[in-house]
């Protein structure tokens, strides 16, 4: 068996795959943040809490109502999205005329409340969520063992990211969205209902977080702090990719997941900070982010 720099290929490929899976979550979550930031100009700090809520909703659907993984994959994002719309209508929409900072503070507070509520009722030890039967087991690829569910996470995230990108960049609805991101006043003056678009966009953005939460439930334990741990990295991903850039959020998400995995192989001590080091470098060299437009 060949070795690269003294690293067996099983270890290398295993870490790349693990990185790709983490990258799948980074991509779906930063995509939601980018969509929301683009149109609402709000840095949605509640994103991690809503991702966690997605996982919990899937768990609750199963344990209280007996609704399994596949329906939950649709239902949980819908429920989280509806909750997001409620938040937008009752709270966020009152802040649009103020500085961005207020939106950030409000969503940060909401994140703490949502997380606190789940911690209060479910504790922090974490709940188990079974991998659906269809995806249990794995494939022996010769050089490594690939669990089916992990392959599905990568496929599902790529599908969702691609569909979202396609919808925003290639359809008429997406043209409305891009136009309203640039100049909401003029789009409104054309007769388009911009407040409705903003509401649905926020709902869609947080539904993506809920979807990522359901995907995560069988891999990570369903835990009130699962979002908190992830969201800081995801914010770094958004900054590296460029605030509000759709393609930037997706590509950067996968790329940083893989870079993190590789760091774990070659310099394990650095794996927890590598993304933040990259963020610092990008901010110094290209402050608008890798895919952002110059400010």
């Amino acid at each position: 068996m060949f070795e690269l720099l003294g690293i067996p290929p099983q270890v290398l490929l295993g870490q790349i795959l693990l990185g790709l899976i983490n990258g799948s979550f980074y991509a779906v979550l930063s995509l939601g943040l980018a969509v929301i930031f683009g149109l609402l100009n709000i840095i949605n700090f509640a994103h991690g809490a809503l991702y966690m809520a997605g996982a919990f909703v899937a768990w609750m659907l199963l344990h209280y109502l007996g609704i399994g993984y596949w329906p939950a994959l649709i239902l949980a994002p819908l429920i989280v999205g509806a909750f997001g719309i409620l938040m937008e209508r009752t709270m966020l929409s009152r802040l649009y005329h103020l500085d961005h900072l207020y939106g950030l503070l409000l969503t940060f507070g909401l994140a703490l409340i949502i997380q606190g509520l789940f911690r209060n009722y479910y504790g922090i030890s974490g709940l188990a969520y079974q991998i659906p039967d269809l995806l249990s087991g794995g494939q022996n690829l010769g050089f490594m063992y690939l669990p089916n569910y992990r392959a599905w996470v990568v496929i599902a995230s790529v599908l969702v990211c691609f569909s979202t990108w396609f919808m925003i960049e290639k359809t008429r609805l997406g043209a409305y969205l891009r136009a309203a991101t640039e100049n909401p006043t003029l789009v409104g003056a054309f007769g388009i209902n911009v407040p409705l678009m903003i509401m649905l966009t926020y709902g869609f953005g947080v539904a993506l977080a809920g979807f990522a939460g359901v995907l995560a439930a069988p891999i990570y334990s369903v835990n009130p702090t699962m979002g908190e741990q992830l969201i800081i990295v995801v914010f770094a991903v958004v900054v590296i990719g460029g605030m509000g850039s759709i393609m930037g959020a997706i590509v950067t998400g996968y790329m940083l997941g893989i870079i993190e995995g590789l760091t774990r192989v070659f310099y394990p001590e650095g794996s927890a900070v590598v993304i933040f080091v990259i963020m610092a470098i990008v901010l110094m060299i290209k402050p608008e982010g890798l895919f952002g437009r110059p400010v």
Partner: protein, 239 residues
């Protein structure tokens, strides 16, 4: 054209408007008849653009009356004003850089059945046809961007157009082309309010001119009486 029996499409009376605390419109009065081209002339900062924004509802803080086909527009949101059949071509043109030329053209939704067809629009603006696909809207030249800004509101079925300084900063040959376009639109039955600094251009396309000064309409001059009023107009405009 100033026939009192003519059908009044828009009647603005005692329109007052504010940007935040600053009172900028102090009682604008004018009316526009069906099928007319009317200009608002005046110096920089007189309140011409603000008047258009107030009609559209983009200037939200406003009082008085803006009656369009008998419907009161004061208090109406811009998107509902648009649905009445009014379309704005803003001074800064408002071409979207993240949209292609064709997406820019197709963006404003149809609000009535009888808008111009895309074929007809490309016939009016052949340059846009050549550059329709692949091009980012803001990569067009200034003149082409202006054409696009006008073209996209013709598709919607709105028959009442507010054009804010469409000739600003453009070469004479393009200005001439825009003049022909406005004449063609008038023949098609569009009614147009034109904000202009370029007085000679205004005289070549309009039926009547309202002079705006310090947030008020101070005079109205029919285009066929421009000669005898030219000294007065020069004083107003300070040219």
């Amino acid at each position: 054209m100033t026939d009192p029996a003519a059908n009044v499409l828009l009647k603005v009376s005692d329109l007052q408007g504010w940007y935040g605390e600053s009172h900028v419109l102090h009682g604008i009065d004018f009316e526009v008849h069906q099928g007319e081209v009317v200009t608002l002339l005046g110096r920089n900062g007189a309140g011409k653009t603000t008047t258009l924004l107030a009609i559209m509802g983009i200037l939200a803080k406003r009082t008085g009356s803006i009656s369009f086909q008998g419907t009161e527009l004061i208090g109406m949101q811009p998107r509902h004003v648009a649905r009445q059949g009014i379309a704005l071509c803003p001074e800064e043109r408002g071409i979207f850089s993240s949209l292609s030329v064709e997406e820019n053209l197709m963006l404003p939704p149809r609000i009535a059945e009888d808008g111009l067809s895309v074929e007809r629009i490309y016939k009016l603006f052949p340059n846009l046809y050549e550059r329709r696909s692949g091009n980012q809207g803001t990569k067009l030249s200034g003149g082409e961007q202006q054409m696009l800004a006008i073209a996209r509101i013709l598709r919607t079925g709105a028959k009442f157009l507010l054009l804010d300084e469409p000739t600003e900063g453009l070469a004479p040959v393009i200005v001439q082309q825009i003049g022909h376009t406005i004449a063609a639109l008038k023949d098609e039955g569009f009614t147009i309010v034109l904000v202009e600094q370029n007085f000679r251009f205004a005289a070549s396309v309009a039926d009547r001119h309202y002079v705006v000064d310090q947030g008020k309409v101070v005079d109205m001059i029919p285009n066929d009486q421009l000669e005898e009023n030219s000294q007065k107009l020069h004083d107003y405009l300070g040219v």
